[in-house]
Symmetry: C2
Subunit: 262 residues, 2 copies
Amino acid sequence: MEANKIVLIGAGNVATHLGVALVRKGYSVLQVYSRTEEAAKALAIRLQTGFTTCLDDVTDEADLYIVSIKDSALDEVLPRLTCRNPRAMYVHTAGSISIDVWKGLAVRYGVLYPLQTFSKECEVDFSAVPCFVEANTEEDTALLQRLASELSRNVYRASSEQRRYLHIAAVFACNFSNHLYAVCDHLLSSHGLPFEVMLPLIDETARKVHQLRPVEAQTGPARRYDENVIGRHMEMLQDEPELAQLYALISRNIHTYQTNND
Amino acid sequence: MEANKIVLIGAGNVATHLGVALVRKGYSVLQVYSRTEEAAKALAIRLQTGFTTCLDDVTDEADLYIVSIKDSALDEVLPRLTCRNPRAMYVHTAGSISIDVWKGLAVRYGVLYPLQTFSKECEVDFSAVPCFVEANTEEDTALLQRLASELSRNVYRASSEQRRYLHIAAVFACNFSNHLYAVCDHLLSSHGLPFEVMLPLIDETARKVHQLRPVEAQTGPARRYDENVIGRHMEMLQDEPELAQLYALISRNIHTYQTNND
């Protein structure tokens, strides 16, 4: 049993990049559903397919429904979706949602979690995106693994428990790092300096952990807990208490990690 | 007046990478000084030159002394250094130290600040490292600019005030991001997952800000302030209060930045 006819439920960043990758590999995306007409239409045009903003109009002719919607909408959407086509397979793409969310709603179900930061404006080389799959039967786990392997060369099986930790780890490494870039941008631009000067450093920081463990790659005043520098930096941040708090907390934590590592 | 004969005061990460880049470009490094014999010797061997661990034995035959030592050691080292060769030029390499640290100690002085994360174990392409120069005369600023331009294609003039902000911005974007990679590594390895799976995501997060401003590139639960996900993540961190505190603080700050940006 294969999954060649696909419906995308959701038209956000993940659905967009997954949809583009699927169509490129020759999969047939029958339809896009999104609550928001603008998003549904934009993705449908990109994939040259139809769209709907009404769950009751989702076609029942697909083999596989891929659900990429806000976690908080799952409870409402899933039962209304699965009841229309009980023989199909259903997967969601959320890192922190258990496979059990499907229990009692579908017979064949699973998860296809692409571990990447997707923005609609940025092209992504999907073949490099690590994908984590899980299904309720061995047969369907293998099916998802085959499907994901057509899109990406980094496909792994992961339990719901492991995926939860992948997701929170990714929040730290990616979402939170990006926020630190935003803080950097803010500090530079408010002193007449272009963010661009920081790019070689940002690149090198990411590159280094291909070679060294992060705790070994750590540099900067907090590593050696240089109180002179830390004190001067805290003074510079005194008008921005959230940044001062962040600076103090991370510096302390770096020092703890280094102490435990030495 | 050029600076062809150089002495390196310090044998840490910055001195090492700067020394290697200088020697590659044909500069003559006459000597390496470090308090620590092991470090002085290692760098001297790498640069095929002599070393000393005694400030009074630093040669007075150099045109340029480059000081890359811990900020807290400057007060003690600088006066003992400059008095031996009053006609030479002196620069330090510290982001957060003003050029005025030389005032009254030397006639020709300045700063050469390479904005990069250096670890001795990692090769760095110095030609891509942004370098910020400052000197007490226009003539010597131009001299430092020429010298730095032989090592790097990204050379800028920056005042001490701008450099302070470059440094603190770099601490956020680089040192603190690296700590978040370390947190990620810790969360993954304590759940049997290899850090390597996160590398494509770390790379993409860094790559994206070449194209989008960080605040626009922001993704993840905190961007949309998804309380379900945030709540579940806070629960997962309940045994690690420092991480829980960090998670809560950054999530709140991301939300504030997004609200101000929308």
